[in-house]
Symmetry: C2
Subunit: 193 residues, 2 copies
């Protein structure tokens, strides 16, 4: 809830880490993406960090609090895009720019997490953080629909899917990671034209 999103590895003078909270979030993001919400265990997060489970509870009150914290960080970036779109005239150019900005997020570390959050949609509707994510995805779907028809809404959702597809594990599509992102972006723009 409001932490910075730049992770800098530091050590105190006695050698103890002082960035454990950020390291927990980074590792949890990996494991949520790999295993899904139910499949991800605090044991695995702790083990991968080389600490014990109780130590996690010093930094976060619950498993859900870790997810919420990760989501808060992503939400700021997505909200920026949504708010920016609100200041622009509706049109194909604005939709293309929104897709450009979203694609940039996917290329970074958010690709696997957005894939996770999207895939867990109904299973996780109960989770506060993810419910908010779904609302943001719906807002993006509305922004990306050129007109108010079922077909346009399906196409807008597919445009988002295209970006997610390139952002997540997608080696089977062939080509380089960069190539996949570029092609997905091109197709997404065609779908929202």
């Amino acid at each position: 809830m409001g932490e910075g999103n730049i992770i800098i590895t530091t050590t105190a003078t006695d050698g103890r880490r002082t960035d454990t909270r950020d390291r927990i979030r980074a590792t949890a993001l990996e494991i949520f993406s790999e295993r899904g919400w139910e499949g991800a265990t605090l044991r695995e997060i702790a083990d991968r960090l080389g600490i014990t489970r109780p130590a996690l509870y010093y930094h976060f009150a619950s498993k859900e609090a870790i997810l919420d914290s990760i989501h808060d960080e992503l939400a700021r970036s997505v909200d920026e895009i949504i708010e920016w779109a609100g200041t622009q005239p509706t049109g194909a150019a604005t939709r293309a720019s929104v897709l450009d900005r979203l694609s940039a997020l996917m290329v970074g570390q958010w690709g696997p997490f957005m894939h996770f959050a999207q895939r867990e949609d109904d299973a996780m509707r109960a989770l506060k953080g993810t419910a908010a994510f779904i609302k943001r995805m719906n807002a993006l779907g509305d922004i990306l629909s050129p007109e108010d028809t079922v077909a346009a809404r399906i196409r807008a959702r597919l445009a988002l899917d295209a970006l997610f597809m390139a952002g997540a594990r997608s080696e089977r599509l062939g080509g380089t990671q960069t190539e996949r992102h570029e092609e997905a972006l091109t197709i997404a723009k065609q779908l929202t034209r």
Copy 2:
């Protein structure tokens, strides 16, 4: 493995049900679709059927065996489509027919389950049944790609996503269920042209 896929409710002369195995599969399909693999519990399946957890074990050896049994039934339908495509000349007309046949599966009871199986892809790679499902989805992706490029493979995957989207919970897209299926099919055909 090898049971019929038509569920007929019958009762023996003393009033006991004789179709519990099929009822378990139908209910499990619902709950897997709603909650995902880890989120689905045998407790909920049993409760919804009005029986106890141990009673499930009379019909299936394990939770995984239930999933495998459901998957076997779907696999026969998907394999029919894949095999039929193999006998046809490659071309836009064949791809459109494959999409028609897949869409017909989605309109039936398989839509939510295909959404489930697709979404659980990496979390469930360990599960025998789902691993086989992923292989079939990859085969369909190949069949639906007009050429051997990254862009074509992304478009083929999005065509499948469009059908899945209409088949699963998708009320937010507006329109009627029939309308959503028709529009999704049209878009899918455009993507694989």
